[in-house]
C-alpha cells in the first residue's frame, strides 16, 4: 500500500479513531440498539431468502452493466477534448442525486408505456414497450450509477501521468498497446472498488426497485426491513436483515481488497493530456457513438424533470425557500463533516498500513458499511439511542447532517484515500527530507494533490445530502422541513405540479453545490 514512513501521532489516533468510532456507532451501533430494544427473536422464512436472492442478483447485474458502460464512457471523456465536455461532466452528477420518486417518474417519462421511446415506436406501429420487471430494475440502477462509475474511472485515467502517453507516442505504441500497458492495469485497480460501491447502492434500493420491478417479485431486503419496522414492529427481524446487508458488504469488501491490485504510476508534471494515438477515425467514431448514447440515456429523464418543473418553479410557496435554506445548511455541514472524516481516516489508514496491514484493510471495509446500512435502521436505531436523553426535535438538523455525511463517506474515502497515498509516495519523502512537519508538510506536500478529490467529494457529499430524505423524517420537528421532505408532503397532498417544481429546485441546487465544490477543487493552487 502506501510507502509512508510517517509516524502515527496521537492526533491521528484521536481524529481518525473518532471518525471510525462514529461510523461504527451509526452502522453496527444502531443495529445493536434495535436488537437490544427487541423482545423477541425470529427465524428467516423461505420468502426472506428469495428476497435476499433477488437483492443480490439484481445488484450484481446492475453493477456489472453500469461498469461495462462506464469504462468506454470514461475513456472517451478522458481522451477527447471538446466544447461541452465540462457541462456533460457536471450534468452527469444529476441522476445520482435524484430523489427516488423523481427518478422513477423521470425514467418512466422516457421508457414508460406513454414515454418518449414508446411514442417514437408508435410511429412505426410497434406497441408500447414494457420495462417493468427485472430489466426495469436494472435499467434504473444503471441510470443512477453510470455517472458514478464514469467519474471514478475518469479519476483513474487522470492519475496516469501524461508523460506515459508521450513516451508511448514517441515509441509508436498504438491504442491497443496503451490499453494493455496503461489502461488495463489502472482499471484492474479501480474496477473492484467501483463495483463494490455500486453493488451496495443497488442492494439498498427500495422504492425504485419495487416500482420498476412490476410486482412483489422485485422485493429487496430494504423493503423487508421497512416492512418489519413499520408494518409489523418487529425490531428483531429488522436488525437481523440489517446484519445480512452488513455481511454482504463485508464479504464483498474482502473480495474487493483481494482482487484489486493497487498500482503506482511514477510521478508526472500534471500537464494536459494529449492522446495522439486516439486520432484514428475508428476510435473517434466509437467515442462519439458511446458518448451520444450515454448522454441520451442519462439526460432524457433529466430533461423530463426539467420540463415538468420549470413552470411550477416560479410559483412555489415561501415555505419551500425556507426549506431550501435548511437543506443547504445541512448539505454544507454534511460536506464538511464527510471530508473531515475522510481526511482523518485516510491519514490513519495510511499510517497503519505500514505496520498493521490487516487492521488498516479492515478499516477500509468498515468505511463501506454505511452504504450497506439501511437508512430506516440508522434512523430508528439513533432514535432509540438518543430518545431517552434528548428530544429528537432539538437535534434534527445536526443529526441529519451527520448521517448524510456518513452516507457519503464511502465515496469521499474512495476519492481521497488513493490520492493521499499517491501524494505520500510522490511528495512525502521529499517533504520529510526537507524537514517539513505536520501542517506545513500537509499544506505544501500533500494538499495540492488532494484538492481535486476533496473538491469532488465535498460536492458529492453536499449534493447527496440535499437529495436525501434520510433520517429527517423521524427527527424533524413540525416546523423544520428540508426540500425532499416538503416535496414528499406535497406529493401526498395531491400537489404533484408544485412537487415537480420543488424537484427541479432540488436538483438545480444540488448540482450548483456540486459544481461549486468541484470547481473549487480544480482551481490552480497558488504556490508561493
Amino acid at each position: 500500500m502506501a510507502h509512508s514512513t510517517q509516524p502515527i501521532r496521537p492526533i491521528h489516533f484521536i481524529l481518525g479513531g473518532s471518525a471510525f468510532a462514529l461510523l461504527l456507532l451509526l452502522t453496527l451501533g444502531t443495529v445493536i440498539a434495535l436488537w437490544w430494544h427487541a423482545e423477541t427473536s425470529v427465524a428467516l422464512t423461505p420468502s426472506d431468502w428469495s428476497i435476499i436472492q433477488f437483492t443480490i442478483v439484481q445488484a450484481l447485474a446492475s453493477a456489472s452493466i453500469s461498469i461495462l458502460i462506464a469504462i468506454p464512457t470514461a475513456r472517451a471523456l478522458s481522451r477527447r477534448n471538446f466544447r461541452g465536455r465540462q457541462f456533460i461532466l457536471t450534468i452527469m452528477g444529476a441522476p445520482f442525486i435524484l430523489p427516488s420518486i423523481v427518478a422513477i417518474l423521470g425514467i418512466l417519462a422516457v421508457w414508460g408505456r406513454s414515454g418518449y421511446v414508446s411514442d417514437l415506436m408508435a410511429n412505426f406501429g410497434v406497441g408500447p414497450i414494457n420495462i417493468y420487471g427485472f430489466g426495469g430494475v436494472v435499467l434504473a440502477h444503471v441510470f443512477f450509477n453510470i455517472p458514478l462509475a464514469t467519474r471514478i474511472f475518469l479519476q483513474g485515467w487522470s492519475a496516469i501521468p501524461i508523460e506515459h502517453f508521450r513516451l508511448s507516442a514517441q515509441l509508436g505504441i498504438n491504442t491497443a498497446g496503451i490499453t494493455r500497458h496503461l489502461e488495463r492495469p489502472m482499471l484492474h485497480a479501480a474496477v473492484p472498488g467501483a463495483f463494490l460501491l455500486i453493488f451496495l447502492l443497488c442492494v439498498s434500493s427500495f422504492t425504485v426497485a419495487l416500482a420498476l420491478g412490476g410486482g412483489p417479485k422485485a422485493t429487496t431486503i430494504e423493503l423487508a426491513i421497512y416492512q418489519a419496522l413499520r408494518f409489523d414492529f418487529n425490531l428483531a427481524k429488522a436488525s437481523q436483515l440489517a446484519m445480512i446487508q452488513f455481511a454482504l458488504c463485508v464479504i464483498l469488501g474482502g473480495l474487493t481488497i483481494l482482487l484489486s491490485k493497487p498500482i503506482h504510476f511514477s510521478q508526472g508534471l500534471d500537464r494536459k493530456v494529449e492522446r495522439w494515438d486516439a486520432h484514428e477515425i475508428q476510435y473517434r467514431i466509437f467515442d462519439v457513438f458511446i458518448l451520444t448514447i450515454v448522454c441520451l440515456f442519462l439526460f432524457l429523464p433529466l430533461y423530463s424533470v426539467f420540463i415538468r418543473g420549470i413552470i411550477p418553479l416560479f410559483t412555489l410557496p415561501s415555505t419551500v425557500w425556507v426549506a431550501a435554506l435548511n437543506s443547504i445548511t445541512v448539505a454544507l455541514l454534511s460536506a464538511i463533516i464527510s471530508v473531515a472524516m475522510a481526511l482523518t481516516m485516510s491519514a490513519l489508514i495510511i499510517r497503519m498500513a505500514h505496520k498493521y496491514q490487516t487492521t488498516s484493510q479492515a478499516m477500509e471495509i468498515v468505511s463501506f458499511l454505511t452504504l450497506a446500512a439501511s437508512p430506516f435502521v440508522i434512523g430508528t436505531g439513533l432514535f432509540v439511542i438518543t430518545f431517552p436523553f434528548i428530544s429528537p426535535f432539538t437535534i434534527a438538523l445536526p443529526v441529519t447532517a451527520l448521517v448524510n455525511a456518513a452516507m457519503s463517506l464511502p465515496f469521499s474515502l474512495r476519492m481521497i484515500l488513493p490520492a493521499m497515498i499517491r501524494a505520500e509516495s510522490h511528495n512525502g519523502r521529499l517533504a520529510d527530507s526537507l524537514g517539513m512537519q505536520t501542517w506545513t508538510r500537509f499544506y505544501i506536500a500533500i494538499w495540492p494533490r488532494l484538492r481535486r478529490p476533496v473538491g469532488f467529494s465535498a460536492g458529492l457529499a453536499a449534493a447527496l445530502s440535499m437529495g436525501d430524505l434520510g433520517v429527517i423524517t423521524l427527527f424533524a420537528p413540525p416546523d423544520v422541513a428540508t426540500l425532499p421532505l416538503i416535496m414528499y408532503h406535497m406529493m401526498s397532498s395531491y400537489q404533484l405540479e408544485a412537487a415537480a417544481g420543488v424537484a427541479l429546485l432540488l436538483v438545480s441546487l444540488s448540482l450548483a453545490l456540486f459544481w461549486i465544490f468541484d470547481k473549487g477543487g480544480r482551481l490552480e493552487h497558488n504556490l508561493r
Binding site: 427500495f206 419495487l210 412490476g214 416492512q227 416546523d479 408532503h489 401526498s492
Partner: protein, 334 residues
C-alpha cells in the same frame, strides 16, 4: 442589505425554535405527515383549536399512520404525545395491544360513519372508500367489478400499492379478501396481468397515473373531489364496483401517559365538532365523521356512492391480513 445578513437572517428564521407562549399548557398531537403539511388540515385545525383552548397545540408529523404507531411504540410511556391522530381500523388491534392508549371521556352525540361505532378508545374523525380512479376522457368502458376488471383487454393496466408498505395497498388486500373470501387467490391471479406495477407508496402510484402510465390507480372515491374542487378538473372519476367498496376509517386516541388528560379530552371533543369536521373534506379529502351543519362541500355530490360498505372488524383485521398477504404474494410472484 448585504447578502450575508440576508443569509444569517434566513438561518435564524429557519433554525430558531418558535417562540410559543411558555405559560400556556401544551398539547402534543402525533399525526401523519400529510395532515400537518401546509396543504393538509393541520394549519386550520391548529388555529381553530388554539382560539378556544387557552393552550398551545403542537401537531407533529411522523410519517404515515403505521409509522406513527411504530414511533409511539419506540417512545413508549416516555412519549411527549398526548394524542395520536391518524391510525385506522386496520391498526387498532396492534395499537390496543401496546397498552399505550386509554378511553376517551365523552362519546359524541352522533357519528355519520357508515357502520355503528362501539370502540371506547379510538374515535373516528374521517373516513373514505378505496376505489380505482381513472381518466373519464380516456376510458369509456369502465369496469364495474373486480371480475370485469379481470376481463378487460390485455393492454388495460392498473397501478396498485404494496400492502406491506402502504395503507391503500393494505386496503385493497382486505377489500378483495372481504369481497371474495376463499376466492381471493383466484381474483389476484386474474388481476396479476392487469397490474402494471406495485409501488411502495401512494404518491409514486398516483404520479404514474397522472402521467398517463396506467389506466387506473388505486386511491379513494374522494380523490376526484380534489381535482374537481381544487383544480376545476372534472376528468378524474372513481370506478364504482358492484362488490362494494372497502372502507378506511381514520381514528384518534388519547395516550394513557398524557400529562394533559383534560386538554386531550377537550381536543377529542373538538375533533367531532362542526368546526373541525367542516375543515376535513377539502383539506384531507375524506368524508367527515360528522356531516357539518352546512353539508358537504359543493363537488362532493359528483362522487360515486358505493352500494355496499365493506370493512373487517378491528379485532379480525390482523389475522385476515396475514393470510391475505400470503395469498397476495403467492399470486403476484408467479
Amino acid at each position: 442589505m448585504n447578502k450575508l445578513t440576508i443569509l444569517a437572517a434566513g438561518l435564524t428564521l429557519a433554525l430558531a425554535i418558535p417562540a410559543h407562549a411558555q405559560d400556556l399548557p401544551k398539547l402534543t398531537v402525533y399525526t401523519y405527515d400529510s395532515f400537518v403539511s401546509d396543504w393538509g388540515p393541520g394549519p386550520s385545525i391548529e388555529k381553530a383549536f388554539e382560539a378556544t383552548c387557552e393552550c398551545d397545540l403542537d401537531l407533529v408529523g411522523a410519517g404515515d399512520g403505521a409509522a406513527l404507531l411504530t414511533r409511539l411504540q419506540l417512545e413508549g410511556t416516555r412519549t411527549e404525545a398526548d394524542i395520536a391522530l391518524g391510525l385506522d381500523t386496520n391498526l387498532i388491534a396492534r395499537a390496543n395491544a401496546t397498552g399505550l392508549f386509554t378511553n376517551y371521556a365523552n362519546r359524541p352525540e352522533r357519528l355519520d360513519v357508515p357502520i355503528t361505532w362501539t370502540d371506547d378508545t379510538f374515535l373516528p374523525y374521517d373516513w373514505g372508500y378505496f376505489a380505482f380512479v381513472y381518466d373519464n376522457t380516456k376510458i369509456s368502458n369502465v369496469p364495474n367489478s373486480f371480475e370485469a376488471l379481470i376481463a378487460m383487454p390485455d393492454d388495460f393496466k392498473i397501478v396498485i400499492q404494496d400492502p406491506r408498505s402502504s395503507t391503500p395497498g393494505l386496503g385493497l388486500l382486505l377489500w378483495v379478501k372481504e369481497a371474495y373470501g376463499d376466492r381471493a387467490p383466484e381474483i389476484w391471479a386474474g388481476l396479476a396481468p392487469k397490474i402494471l406495477t406495485v409501488t411502495a407508496g401512494w404518491s409514486e402510484a398516483y404520479g404514474m397515473f397522472t402521467d398517463g402510465e396506467a389506466d387506473m390507480v388505486l386511491s379513494y372515491t374522494t380523490s376526484p373531489a380534489y381535482h374537481i374542487i381544487a383544480e376545476g378538473d372534472e376528468t378524474k372519476s372513481a370506478a364504482k364496483f358492484d362488490e362494494g367498496h372497502y372502507m378506511q376509517i381514520e381514528v384518534a386516541a388519547k395516550l394513557a401517559s398524557t400529562d394533559q388528560p383534560k386538554l386531550a379530552d377537550q381536543f377529542l371533543e373538538f375533533m367531532t365538532s362542526n368546526e373541525f369536521q367542516s375543515i376535513i373534506p377539502t383539506t384531507n379529502w375524506m368524508y367527515p365523521a360528522v356531516i357539518p351543519t352546512n353539508g358537504l362541500p359543493k363537488g362532493f355530490e359528483k362522487l360515486i356512492t358505493p352500494s355496499k360498505s365493506l370493512i373487517i372488524s378491528a379485532d379480525k383485521a390482523q389475522m385476515v391480513r396475514d393470510e391475505a398477504l400470503a395469498e397476495w404474494l403467492t399470486a403476484l410472484s408467479q
